[in-house]
């Protein structure tokens, strides 16, 4: 590819790209330095200048090769320091900014914490709600009644109330206790004060003694405390050691052996003592007697123990017996059956035993019954004899007739009684009416009397005819005077009326002449005309819309179709059912 490229194109390329090409192509020094050189003949790059190592370009150190300042004097270092200080100040600024940011974040962290808390609370609430809903769903799934749920609710409420009450009681108790404590403290304080007072009241010698004793007491208390602590420490140590011991079997064995050794040593000591003490025979005898006594005592104590154990054994046996009985009782059915059978057996034996007796009883009863029958038969025969004295059927018929007659009579009399009662009611009502009438009449009478009095008064007035006439004359005169006045007035009013009418006419004619009025009239007429047109158009539109309204027709048609369908169905049913 490289070889086939015409040189013209290569030369036409810009030199930069070409150099890139060569550098990227291969390591010119190792492989094809000649080729590369030939390739970029036109460029100014000198390959030989490049630092070439055996392993390619890896050894190239740019930092070391950088052009350093040749003269490193004071100003150079000052510049260096300045740059460093600026860097430091920048760093400091950055850090302070970071700190600020951190502060802000910490402040916001608080708020976030609060929010998180609130959210956690919310989550808790929601979880509780969810639990409620879950239980609700459970209840729904298990098809529980609302009543059950309500019962549960009531139970829970009751228990809650109880708990609350308990809590209240406990709280009260606690308060009481606290009060007690407080009281006791107060008392203690008082006691202390009293003691102080006592001390203050003591004689000097006594007081010295008291103080001494007090010191001693304190001292002893301290000692006691110390000893206690020591004991505790030793206990701890012991526990540790024991633990250590329990860890290894060898040490345990050793302990055992030690103990044995101790015991044996004690034995040996005692034997040695014996040996030493085995002096005179008397002494020996005494010693033996003592031993015998001791042995006797031991024996008696052992006997006692034995007795106790025996008692215990007997107790336990009794217990076992009881338990056996319990077990038997608990064995249930078999036992019951057995018992039943036993009972039956008992009843049978009883029956067998009492058979003779009951037989005798039955025989006695039989005899009695026979006697009874005989007596009844006798009675019957006697009655039969009496039967001859009975009335004949005819008499019976007459008697029956009598009875019927009497019954009808009785009914009639009952009816009459009822009639009488109703009549009495009626009469009572009449009586009431009459009473009312009476009261009315009395009131009317009073009114009449009043009227009469009035009339009498009037008669007095009217008897004085002359006076009346005079009065009438006076009245007439007055009225005629009035008439004259009124006529005058009428004339005046007539005149006023005429005036007003003429005024009105004038105004009317003025109005008629007024252009605006005429215009208004015309406009009103025009308006009326327009309204009329409007109304007519509206009517027309309404009627046309009604005409073009197809909805009622569709409704009617659908109704008819449904009726027809129904009819057809009925027909089909009527004709179809018999066929089927």
């Amino acid at each position: 590819m490289r070889a086939g490229r015409p040189p013209g194109t290569a030369s036409g390329r810009p030199p930069g790209t070409a150099s890139r090409l060569t550098s990227g192509m291969a390591r010119p020094g190792t492989k094809g330095g000649q080729q590369a050189a030939g390739m970029s003949l036109t460029t100014n790059l000198q390959v030989s200048d490049r630092p070439i190592t055996q392993q390619g370009l890896g050894g190239l150190k740019t930092g070391a090769k950088g052009p350093h300042r040749q003269v490193q004097d004071k100003s150079y270092f000052v510049g260096l320091l300045r740059s460093k200080t600026t860097e430091l100040t920048q760093e400091v600024a950055r850090l302070s900014k970071d700190v600020d940011v951190n502060y802000e974040e910490s402040s916001s962290y608080l708020t976030y914490e609060k929010r998180a808390e609130s959210l956690a609370n919310e989550i808790k609430d929601l979880q509780a709600e969810l639990g409620d809903y879950n239980t609700l769903v459970d209840k729904l799934n298990t098809d529980e009644d609302i009543q059950d749920i309500q019962l549960d609710l009531a139970d829970l409420k009751a228990s809650n109330e109880k708990e609350a009450k308990n809590l209240d009681a406990l709280f009260l108790q606690k308060q009481e206790r606290e009060g007690q404590i407080h009281k006791l403290e107060v008392e203690l304080e008082q006691e202390k004060r009293m003691a102080d007072n006592l001390v203050a009241d003591m004689k000097p010698a006594m007081r010295d003694k008291y103080l001494q004793l007090k010191d001693l007491n304190e001292h002893l208390l301290k000692q006691l405390e110390n000893g206690q602590q020591e004991v505790d420490q030793l206990d701890l140590k012991k526990a540790e050691l024991e633990e250590e011991l329990s860890m290894s079997t060898v040490k345990q064995e050793a302990v055992r052996l030690y103990e044995q050794l101790n015991e044996l040593e004690v034995k040996r000591d005692s034997i040695m003592e014996e040996l030493q003490s085995s002096g005179t025979p008397e002494e020996e005898r005494e010693r033996l007697l003592k031993q015998v006594k001791e042995d006797n005592q031991e024996m008696s104590s052992m006997d006692r123990q034995c007795n106790e154990i025996r008692e215990k054994v007997s107790n336990l046996q009794e217990e076992i017996r009881q338990l056996d009985m319990d077990i038997e009782e608990n064995q249930g059915e078999r036992n019951q059956k057995y018992k039943e059978l036993k009972k039956r057996e008992e009843t049978m034996t009883e029956f067998l035993e009492s058979f003779d007796q009951s037989k005798n009883q039955e025989l006695e009863r039989k005899g009695q019954l026979q006697l009874n029958i005989v007596a009844l038969l006798e009675h019957m025969s006697r009655n039969m004899a009496r039967g001859h004295n009975l009335p004949t059927p005819k008499e019976l018929a007459t008697m029956k007739d009598d009875l019927a007659f009497k019954a009808t009579e009785m009914k009639k009399s009952e009816a009459t009684a009822a009639g009488l009662a109703s009549e009495q009611e009626k009469l009572q009502l009449d009586l009431q009416k009459v009473e009312q009438l009476e009261s009315k009449i009395t009131s009317e009478l009073e009114m009449m009397k009043n009227k009469i009095a009035n009339m009498e008064q009037e008669i007095e007035i009217y008897s004085n005819l002359d006076g009346l006439k005079e009065e009438a004359d006076v009245k007439r005169q007055k009225l005629s005077e009035d008439k004259v006045i009124l006529q005058k007035r009428r004339e005046v009013f007539k005149k006023i009326m005429q005036q007003l009418t003429s005024q009105y006419e004038a105004l009317k004619s003025q109005l008629q002449e007024n252009e605006t009025y005429a215009q208004l009239g015309n406009l009103e007429k025009k308006w009326q005309h327009h309204e009329q047109n409007n109304f007519v158009m509206k009517e027309f539109i309404a009627s046309k819309t009604m005409e073009s309204d197809y909805r009622p027709i569709t409704k009617r048609v659908s109704e008819m179709i449904s009726v027809y369908n129904k009819f057809l169905q009925d027909l089909a049913l009527r004709t179809g059912v018999p066929n089927m």
């Binding site: 308006w527 009326q528 309204e531 009329q532 007519v536 009627s543 009604m546």
Partner: protein
């Protein structure tokens, strides 16, 4: 003694519901039905006397045929002081005319707020049954709830036109008699 009572009858309702037609048909005893619509300007007054049955008394009804146009409402209400009886008219083919009955009733009542006046609710144009928009039940319920008597009329067919007026005259006469009685008991 024959008495002549004068009753001021206010006829109110939306425009073009047929107030004037109803009034004129009643006034002319069914002889004159205005075939063309003519808008009423202000108030048209006509007098019709009605004899009360079983008495010798007559009631002269002063029919105040009011304009229904909202433009005249102020003018019209000037003529409405002290009404004796009320007639509210609506068009059965128009829902709006029915719904504005309450408004008209309120206006008339405001002239005489403390006294209860006899009134009727008239559903006009009942001949246009096919275009009916207000059911009789709704009208009756409205009338019941407002203490009115409900009538359905058709001025065009001359059907039931007199009934509401007679009812009003009778009610007025009754009221008059009651008042008379109270006065007599007072004296």
């Amino acid at each position: 003694m024959p008495a002549v009572l004068r009753a001021k009858c206010i006829i109110a309702g939306d425009s073009a519901v047929g107030k004037s037609a109803l009034t004129q048909v009643f006034h002319s005893d069914g002889a004159h039905y205005p075939k063309n619509y003519a808008m009423t300007v202000g108030v048209e007054l006509c007098v019709k006397s009605v004899t009360i049955p079983d008495t010798s008394d007559t009631v002269e009804l002063f029919l105040h045929d009011s304009a229904g146009k909202e433009t005249f409402s102020d003018l019209v209400q000037k003529h409405w002081s002290q009404p004796s009886v009320i007639m509210i008219v609506y068009d059965v083919t128009s829902e709006t005319s029915f719904s504005s009955c309450a408004k008209w009733l309120e206006r008339v009542k405001s002239q005489k707020p403390e006294v209860s006046t006899p009134g009727v609710l008239v559903a006009a144009k009942k001949d246009l049954d096919a275009r009916r928009a207000v059911s009789p039940k709704a009208g009756q319920e409205f009338a019941m709830s407002n203490g009115l008597e409900y009538f359905e009329v058709s001025a065009k067919e001359g059907e039931n036109v007199e009934a509401p007026f007679y009812y009003l005259a009778n009610e007025f006469h009754k009221l008059y008699n009651e008042k008379l009685d109270t006065f007599q008991t007072l004296s």
